[in-house]
């Protein structure tokens, strides 16, 4: 066997993951990606005594399985890259290169990724990132950031422009690096780890926390009760509605459509205030906990949520019918920042960004968790890959999520008042958890040691894949369209930097 097969949220003995020699490991994993229904959900290295163990997880989107294999290599070794065969591996190999000084003979873009505090090569600092340089009399460079004009997270954008036209954009990240993966091991209390999961990306609290608790429960061999799964599903869809609405507001702001900006902005308020009514926090911090729920969902909460949607929907539809037909808005949205289906496929785009470039990729359909198998989710797909598609998918996903919540709240599972406590995690185990957050596919992986203590924790935010999509989409656009392109992608800096 070249790989072992796991399901989403399944825990297996580490020893059941086949260890291949590197050549076979490479050949085997890239052979999957010749077919479209396979994509790489995680590929990373861990310290294995003096050596490095590489673990590759390839999802089969047709039958809800994940193929896991591994290989042991020397640190500082020079290897042929996966990226040469399928470009979507490029970002994972950059991370492996940064963390373990593994070199690749044929990687097209082997640059530092996030300047993590424990990188072996301290000569690389965030201040001396090797940007692509251009030697030309006609072209000029524009540098933006790390601190941006608005209240947003830091990152540096370096443009090479011909007049007003962007020829190339390079995005340098890492400013937000807080050492999250290491903290998962250092902080031993479960509540600390849950709080960490809540802080991976503050706009995706329910997404990352659900990934963590699902993973933790599978490590502990805990049978998650329906009421817990139900609350997580509602929370995920609510987060999608809230953030999408806020994004539509921000996109209107960026094209100077004041009415849309204000109306979408105020429509977000009742949704996040609902989180506060439910769990005491507008961004749902405190709501999702492993093996329990301090704020169980009940009929009263369900009714008040439906009432909010009854008021939300008419106002939302009214402003949307205006926004999506207004010539000044359309002129800025249509054919702006196009990510072609070919580019989206090659970078391994996930989530909304994949779906607006015609790729049917959605964990809710392909690897359903929590209540998604009962919802029979049909992903919304757009084909143009432009700002307009990214606005449209938000509008349609909001309405779809409202429909799902209306359906779900018709039968609310009874709260289990006699919950069994969590067992400690199983020793020598590997578990993987995939969640479709509002932005896209979140993947957490964990490995335990012989005592059942966490030995390795890996977090992947969808932004890791999608940042390059933004860089490609803005090529040949006016530099003045960069803000609206950036907002329409709305990628996470801290989710990438960890």
């Amino acid at each position: 066997m070249n790989h072992t097969i796991v399901k989403n949220n399944q825990c297996i003995p580490v020893s059941s993951i086949p260890v291949l020699d590197y050549e076979r490991f490479l050949e085997h994993n890239i052979s999957f990606l010749r077919e479209e229904h396979y994509h790489c959900v995680n590929f990373y290295g861990i310290q294995h005594k003096e050596k490095i163990k590489l673990i590759c997880c390839i999802a089969n989107d047709n039958d809800a399985t994940i193929n896991v294999s591994s290989s042991i290599v020397e640190s500082k070794q020079t290897l042929p890259s996966f990226s040469q065969h399928h470009f979507s591996f490029h970002i994972f190999e950059r991370e492996i290169h940064e963390n373990f000084e593994i070199n690749y003979t044929d990687h097209p873009w082997l640059k530092p990724l996030r300047f993590s505090f424990n990188r072996p090569n301290n000569n690389n600092t965030i201040a001396n990132y090797p940007f692509l340089k251009i030697d030309s009399e006609e072209l000029h460079e524009v540098g933006v950031g790390p601190i941006h004009a608005g209240i947003i997270e830091p990152g540096h954008f370096r443009f090479i422009c011909n007049g007003e036209q962007i020829l190339h954009l390079e995005i340098q990240l890492g400013f937000q690096h807080r050492g999250i993966e290491t903290l998962f091991l250092e902080k031993k209390k479960l509540l600390q780890r849950t709080a960490l999961a809540e802080s991976i990306a503050g706009d995706t609290v329910t997404g990352h926390t659900t990934a963590f608790v699902n993973l933790w429960e599978s490590l502990c061999n805990y049978k998650t009760e329906p009421d817990l799964q139900f609350a997580r599903t509602i929370a995920l869809e609510l987060e999608r509605i809230a953030i999408h609405t806020g994004d539509l507001s921000a996109m209107c702001t960026d094209v100077a459509y004041q009415l849309g900006s204000s109306v979408y902005g105020r429509l977000r308020t009742p949704v996040i205030n609902y989180f506060q009514v439910w769990c005491g926090n507008r961004l749902a911090k405190g709501l999702i906990r492993p093996g329990k729920n301090n704020f169980s969902f009940n009929k009263i909460l369900g009714d008040s949520l439906i009432k909010i949607f009854d008021e939300y929907e008419p106002d939302f539809n009214e402003i949307s019918s205006m926004t999506f037909t207004l010539p000044t808005v359309l002129a800025r949205f249509e054919k702006t920042g196009v990510l072609t289906p070919e580019h989206a496929a090659s970078i391994g785009a996930v989530g909304m960004i994949a779906r607006t470039s015609g790729i049917n990729r959605d964990i809710r359909t392909s690897h359903p968790h929590d209540f998604y198998s009962t919802l029979h989710h049909q992903a919304i797909i757009k084909r143009h890959g432009d700002v307009y598609s990214r606005a449209q998918i938000r509008k349609e996903e909001i309405l779809q999520s409202i429909k799902y919540i209306r359906e779900l709240t018709k039968t609310i599972p009874e709260e289990n008042k006699n919950r069994k406590p969590l067992n400690p995690p199983m020793p020598d185990s590997f578990a993987i958890s995939l969640v479709e957050g509002w932005r896209g596919e979140i993947c957490h992986c964990a490995i335990t040691d012989e005592q059942g203590e966490l030995m390795h924790y890996k977090v992947k935010d969808p932004s890791l894949h999608n940042w390059l999509g933004l860089a490609l989409a803005v090529r040949n656009n006016e530099i003045s369209d960069f803000p609206i392109c950036n907002k329409s992608f709305d990628l996470s800096y801290c989710g990438h930097d960890l």
């Binding site: 993590s116 505090f117 424990n118 965030i126 201040a127 601190i147 004009a149 608005g150 209240i151 947003i152 997270e153 830091p154 890492g174 400013f175 937000q176 690096h177 807080r178 050492g179 290491t182 903290l183 250092e186 902080k187 209390k189 509540l191 600390q192 849950t194 709080a195 960490l196 802080s199 991976i200 990306a201 503050g202 706009d203 609290v205 806020g246 009415l259 204000s262 109306v263 902005g265 105020r266 308020t269 205030n273 506060q276 009514v277 439910w278 769990c279 005491g280 926090n281 507008r282 961004l283 911090k285 405190g286 301090n294 704020f295 008419p314 106002d315 009214e318 205006m322 801290c494 930097d497």
Partner: protein, 249 residues
């Protein structure tokens, strides 16, 4: 035109008329009250994820608290979070709430420099710097200026350039990789200037405490004018805290 007016009309009145008296919906976790009930203190101190609880007498440090609520769930008779969102302070020690205390938190006027109310009471322009913040405080700071909280009506605004700013609002635990940009930005703000720390991560590094990826040296160099606790901060906590700081005295 007609449709625009119709949309406007359908929004009704969205702004909060009196921002100092607004109530928050639901089970908000604001200023805690600690009773004198006898409980297993070690268990209470142990359960807190950020070491915000200490003993003799039992105290909660809002600068460290992530407002997870776990202490109040486990010991409801001992700890109760009220919906009082006015929890900003201008002295680090004020953020420590002691057993038996139940009083409104106000800023210490002796620590407020004269020029603050002189220059900034009618207009305060702020530059925000996110230094490892997870984006949640940033969302809430943006919300401070939206149609509901509308902090612009008091002349408080976020601006793009530090050169236009009267002060800096820092979010996040301050990562090593942001230490230098933060310093450069602060240096570019003309005197006199304020420093506001927004959120538990900025005040104490919160759940990131002890991470080797942080560099918090900046904070030991300057006097902090306002601490705004929260995870994330509530817009009402921020707006009221800032109004209290800059009001005419």
């Amino acid at each position: 035109m007609f449709n625009n007016l119709k949309i406007l009309y359908h929004q009704g009145k969205q702004y909060i008329p009196d921002i100092t008296k607004a109530t928050v919906p639901g089970v908000f976790r604001g200023r805690p009250i600690i009773s004198s009930e006898k409980i297993n203190e070690n268990e209470l101190i142990e359960l807190c994820p950020t070491g915000a609880i200490s003993s003799n007498p039992i105290r909660i440090d809002l600068g460290k608290c992530t407002f997870c609520g776990e202490c109040a769930f486990t010991f409801p008779e001992k700890i109760q979070f009220t919906s009082d969102y006015k929890i900003a302070a201008n002295e680090r020690g004020q953020l420590v709430i002691k057993e038996g205390e139940d009083k409104l938190m106000v800023l210490n006027p002796d620590l407020i420099r004269n020029e603050i109310s002189k220059y900034f009471s009618g207009s305060l322009k702020l530059r925000q710097v996110c230094a490892g913040g997870d984006g949640s405080n940033e969302l809430e700071l943006n919300a401070c200026g939206n149609v509901n909280f509308d902090m612009g009506r008091f002349g408080i605004e976020f601006v793009a350039s530090p050169r236009h700013a009267d002060g800096i609002v820092i979010t996040g635990p301050i990562t090593e990789n942001m230490a230098e940009p933060l310093q450069i930005c602060y240096d570019a703000i003309p005197e006199p200037k304020l420093i506001i720390l927004a959120g538990t991560d900025a005040i104490s590094s919160g759940i990131f405490e002890g991470s080797a990826a942080l560099n918090r040296n900046f904070l030991s160099k300057y006097k902090i004018d306002l601490f705004v606790p929260g995870n994330p901060i509530h817009p009402l906590t921020f707006v009221n805290g800032v109004l209290d700081l800059i009001k005419k005295r």
